[in-house]
Symmetry: C2
Subunit: 351 residues, 2 copies
């Protein structure tokens, strides 16, 4: 079964400490909002969907323990705590959207005289719990559609060799994963021959996290260096590339981990289909194209050091954009929980 | 002036210990063939031209100290010592070729009755010393031709932004460098705005060695991760790519450090000219095309560890080809010491 990065049952939350991966597998208890803020801020949990869910679940843990009878005070506290949670990683948009939704719900429940304080608590907790379930369901739907669309291109019942980039698995979502979910589905369908994952410099999410998940689940897999993608496509007959997305613009241009654009170019050169797998919440129809997406630049130290160990010449300056934009023209299909759409038909899928 | 990786005057040889770079700059005295073997075998010196020159210079140091009067014994010793030196890095072809040349010279001098033992020593030492001079001269010619060809494409006296991969500088040659020699020439001509160098995973020659040379010589430069090349070409207006070569086939297909092929593909996509800079000795007209070049695969540990520090998930398997083949169709020009040739015209340049 999938690696569990988030272990939750009502009143109990534990998360896998991603800072210790891949060398140690240790879960941390999250006993309330303060713990939630800490694990998000310290990056013990990462990946936009996972951050949103862990933050909200930490609130659910706290709401359950609360015995306040005044809904107005509760509403006020919930709003304050959600804003506090959002502040742990201010650039992660998913937790902000989830917080806004919960604040709206709290407002309307608070205003409704037929709702008791206990009902109020129960409804909020259920709403949060449903986020966890929905994220996994959406990922499984993405996995199913992605698996189907990749297999549809094949003749007979041959097996596929897939390449992925960065980490889009159980460790970045509530579970299962987006691009890695597609790979899980292919494996479950017994049609996956092999998956290749890139190291994903400079933060090494591929080598540390994706490789960890693949080894954990005994999926036949091989790690390559980011610059080996072309050599790999030349040497082995790669069936498809599947990557995740940080954000998809209305025209299909996709912002994702640095290096994605390069993989899309070399996939086109080798006639390998290139898929983006992401939940609907990653599609931002307010952005006409990828040009409007601001590229975050990260500290030099991520490139010059591994832990405390310096790996680059002292004095060299660095350029460290954390993601790049893959133009829609290089994307074969965008896999969402409703199906697979060519970039040009994305508007048909998004309400 | 260029970084001195090899310091030589008659009777005295020191090499820069590349294992300590970029954190420490320390020279090692090489007092004879045994020291020469050690620095080559331990990779304190690397780069095919540099290995050949350091090996032969270590022999020159030893010949000078020798006071034998029997040319036949000397001839025999020299052959033995050269074969011993070649054994330090058996795959480096340049030192084998240089050794063969010296053995031929020793044979003919030994057979010539007009040559005294002292003449014999002097001729061999001079021949070795001339290798050092010739390598630097060839590199400077490569630099000059490369600089001219890149500037010729520009309008007016604008400045260039160049990208390079791996290390092809003073640290890989007798001095000056091939691709990095072209960059040095552009800088000397005051036409270089900026050079970008890739990290060059998994052995990080770009981050450790090229960055070290560029900082040392105050050439305006920035380090990028291998997967950032496309984002860089999109964001900054790159004038040209210049890389080195391990071997060039008769049709222009070029074997070079892993990742070169990928850079050539994305350069084509962005309409950026792509140059290979290499001495004539790297061109192998006996190979019809790159298909005939065997790709060396290196140990997993190079990918999974940085020093003693594990950076990849335990249990993951790795694919670690040390170079790839860039097809001639992606190469704008091959820069050798005789000029710049399109891959299809290489046969005109090579005798």
């Amino acid at each position: 079964m999938s690696l569990e990065s988030i272990r939750y049952e009502r009143g109990r939350l534990e998360i896998l400490d991603q800072l210790l991966l891949p060398l140690q597998t240790r879960y941390i208890k999250v006993q309330g909002v303060e713990d939630g803020w800490k694990v998000i801020n310290k990056m013990q949990v990462r990946g936009a969907p996972a951050i949103a869910i862990v933050g909200c679940l930490s609130l659910a843990i706290e709401i359950l323990k609360d015995d306040c009878v005044d809904k107005k005070i509760m509403r006020q506290e919930i709003e304050g705590k959600l804003n506090y949670l959002v502040s742990a990683r201010p650039t992660a948009v998913n937790i902000k959207l989830a917080a806004d939704e919960l604040i709206n719900l709290a407002n309307s429940l608070s205003a409704d005289e037929n709702v008791t304080a206990d009902d109020f608590r129960e409804r909020l907790i259920r709403n949060i719990e449903s986020m966890l379930i929905k994220d996994i369901e959406d990922n499984k739907a993405i996995g199913k559609f992605g698996c189907e669309t990749i297999l549809k291109r094949l003749e007979g019942d041959s097996h596929v060799r897939v390449l992925t980039h960065c980490n889009t698995g159980s460790l970045a979502t509530a579970g299962y994963g987006t691009a890695l979910g597609v790979i899980r589905s292919l494996h479950a369908a017994k049609r996956l021959e092999h998956v290749y994952c890139t190291e994903t410099r400079p933060y090494n999410q591929g080598a540390r996290l994706t490789a960890y998940e693949l080894v954990h689940e005994k999926i036949p897999s091989t790690l390559i260096i980011d610059s080996m993608v072309s050599a790999l496509m030349h040497a082995r007959n790669i069936t498809a590339v599947v990557v995740g997305a940080d954000r998809v613009a209305a025209n299909g241009d996709t912002a994702n981990k640095i290096g994605t654009y390069q993989i899309a170019i070399v996939a086109k050169y080798h006639n390998v289909p290139f898929y983006v797998a992401a939940p609907l919440t990653s599609i931002d129809m307010s952005l006409k194209s990828g040009d409007r997406i601001k590229i975050e630049e990260r500290p030099d130290r991520e490139m010059t050091h591994i832990g405390e160990h310096r790996i680059a010449a002292p004095g060299i300056s660095c350029w460290n954009p954390s993601f790049d934009i893959t133009p829609a023209s290089l994307i074969t299909g965008i896999i969402i929980e409703k199906g697979v759409f060519s970039p040009g038909k994305l508007h048909e899928a998004v309400p």
